[in-house]
């Protein structure tokens, strides 16, 4: 059997003495679109953050292609396993500057910012070229979410951890984003995504497999 792309092994996180989730174990294969389900407060965001290594865990580990990322390798790991925040945070400057900024990071050295590709991706999401020159601070929550999504796609990670990526989008933009993300996983080998969403219909549309976090509540 082929090695899974990403392995979550016995992950556990607690607050004080109480476990939020414990023993979380699953594999993500290349080409897979996984849905992470669970009611509000079940710790979906915390699990995605833990997978991305943005929060410490109390137990367990995460392996990418059979290797656990040591502390110092976290940036390289995150350049491949990118977490997209539910509350999109854009930096100062224009949309284009936001999209280009990650390319100045050491972990993305060797990748080149492609303005045409950025414009094409935004167009897929219903935003025409002048949008690139808009000030990030003037965008609505939904527009910011689109920019954050395109920003993550442009640096070409292998795995996208999507935390309610369409929560602030209108219905049309949400369906464009769904289509774009589904295509993105299939467009190249070695890609995968993990979605969280409150909308079971959406999870059924975008994901091939569903995991329920309730199963790991001690």
């Amino acid at each position: 059997m082929r090695e899974p792309l990403l392995r979550i092994i016995d992950l556990g996180r607690r607050v004080g003495a109480a476990w939020i989730w414990r023993g979380v174990s699953f594999d993500v294969a290349a080409g897979e679109r996984l849905a992470l389900a669970g009611p509000t407060g079940s710790g979906k965001t915390l699990l995605l953050r833990a997978i991305a290594g943005l929060d410490p865990v109390d137990e367990g580990r995460v392996e990418l292609e059979g290797r656990e990322a040591e502390g110092g390798e976290a940036p390289a790991f995150r350049a491949r396993v990118a977490y997209l925040h539910q509350r999109p945070a854009l930096w100062r400057g224009t949309v284009a500057e936001n999209l280009e900024a990650p390319f100045s990071l050491k972990a993305n050295a060797g990748k080149r910012f492609d303005l045409d590709r950025a414009a094409a991706l935004l167009e897929r999401l219903g935003r025409k070229a002048p949008f690139l020159e808009a000030r990030a601070s003037n965008l609505s929550g939904g527009e910011a979410q689109l920019v954050a999504l395109v920003r993550a796609l442009l640096v070409e990670p292998g795995i996208l951890l999507l935390d309610e990526p369409t929560a602030s989008l209108d219905r049309a933009s949400a369906s464009w984003a769904e289509a774009l993300l589904t295509e993105w996983v299939e467009a190249a080998p070695g890609r995968a995504s993990i979605w969280t969403s409150h909308d079971p219909d959406q999870l059924a549309r975008v994901a091939g497999r569903r995991i329920d976090l309730e199963g790991w509540k001690p």
Binding site: P75, H85, A89, W91, P102, A107, N108, V155
Partner: protein
């Protein structure tokens, strides 16, 4: 015409007590405008008086001893108190903050004061308390302001812009890359008081040390030269101390896994408010 003497007028306890009446302005204003500063003012004024009287006795004793060991011990005590005061002025605390502050304050102030004593003013012996104590005191008093401002701004900046910083980390930024803008902002903010005071010095404000020397009978030109040296010492010690403190704070609020660890930051205890809430006549007690 009366001749100008260089003997200064001596102040006794009565003069000092009279000047304390000036503080009534603050107390009355605080009461009229409901500023709630009355207790803090009285505590601060009493504390300042006690501290100054004590240091007066300590200096008398040390000047009379003329031994390096006691001077160096006093210097360490001064730096330690300054480092505690620097932390006291911050609105955020984190694990090891007192140690970090001590390392930054001590390192920066001793280095700069040492260079000034040995290499610039050429004091012989280098530990002569008449020079070492006031120079170090000036450097410490000013550097601690810069240090507390900068570390406060750094941690607050991380809190305020947490989402943006984590968005950088999530796309592969190292903790240094993610924090660099906040480090720069903190260094800028910490230098502002020094830059401001340099800008107006001599025009709007006559600095304390220069005023003191003039009152004690030094020629103004001489006092000015000392003041200029002191300002350059303050500027460099502040910058070094801030850099040390912010870098040490950076090591705490980010971990080895390039994670932002704001769970290591907490708010300090406000002892005056805490005591006030527990006073029998307080509306909040009970």
């Amino acid at each position: 015409m009366e001749a100008v003497t260089h003997e200064y007028l001596r102040l006794d306890t009565m003069h000092v007590a009279l000047s304390a009446l000036l503080l009534l302005v603050n107390v009355v204003l605080s009461w009229l405008l409901r500023l709630g500063l009355g207790a803090r003012l009285v505590v601060a004024a009493a504390r300042m008086t006690v501290q100054l009287v004590l240091i007066g006795y300590v200096l008398d004793w040390i000047f009379a001893l003329e031994r390096p060991l006691e001077v160096v011990i006093l210097a360490f005590v001064m730096a330690t108190l300054a480092s505690v005061a620097a932390v006291g002025r911050t609105s955020r605390r984190f694990a090891g903050v007192y140690f970090d502050s001590l390392v930054s304050v001590l390192g920066a102030s001793f280095l700069v004061t040492g260079i000034a004593l040995v290499g610039i003013i050429e004091v012989r012996p280098w530990w002569d308390a008449h020079y070492l104590v006031p120079l170090l005191g000036m450097v410490l008093g000013n550097a601690l302001t810069g240090i507390s401002l900068s570390v406060d701004r750094f941690v607050e900046g991380l809190e305020d812009r947490r989402d943006g910083i984590e968005a950088r980390l999530a796309l592969g930024a190292t903790s240094w890359e993610a924090a660099l803008e906040e480090i720069r902002g903190a260094m800028r903010v910490g230098m502002i008081p020094t830059l401001n005071s340099m800008a107006v010095m001599g025009l709007v404000s006559l600095p304390g040390m220069m005023t003191g020397q003039i009152l004690a009978g030094a020629a103004p030109g001489e006092a000015v030269r000392y003041q200029i040296v002191i300002m350059f010492m303050i500027a460099s010690a502040t910058a070094l101390g801030m850099l040390g403190m912010v870098l040490l704070a950076f090591r705490t609020v980010f971990d080895r896994g390039h994670r932002l660890r704001l769970d290591r930051v907490r708010m300090p205890m406000d002892w005056i408010a805490w005591t006030r809430r527990r006073l029998p006549w307080s509306r909040h007690s009970g």
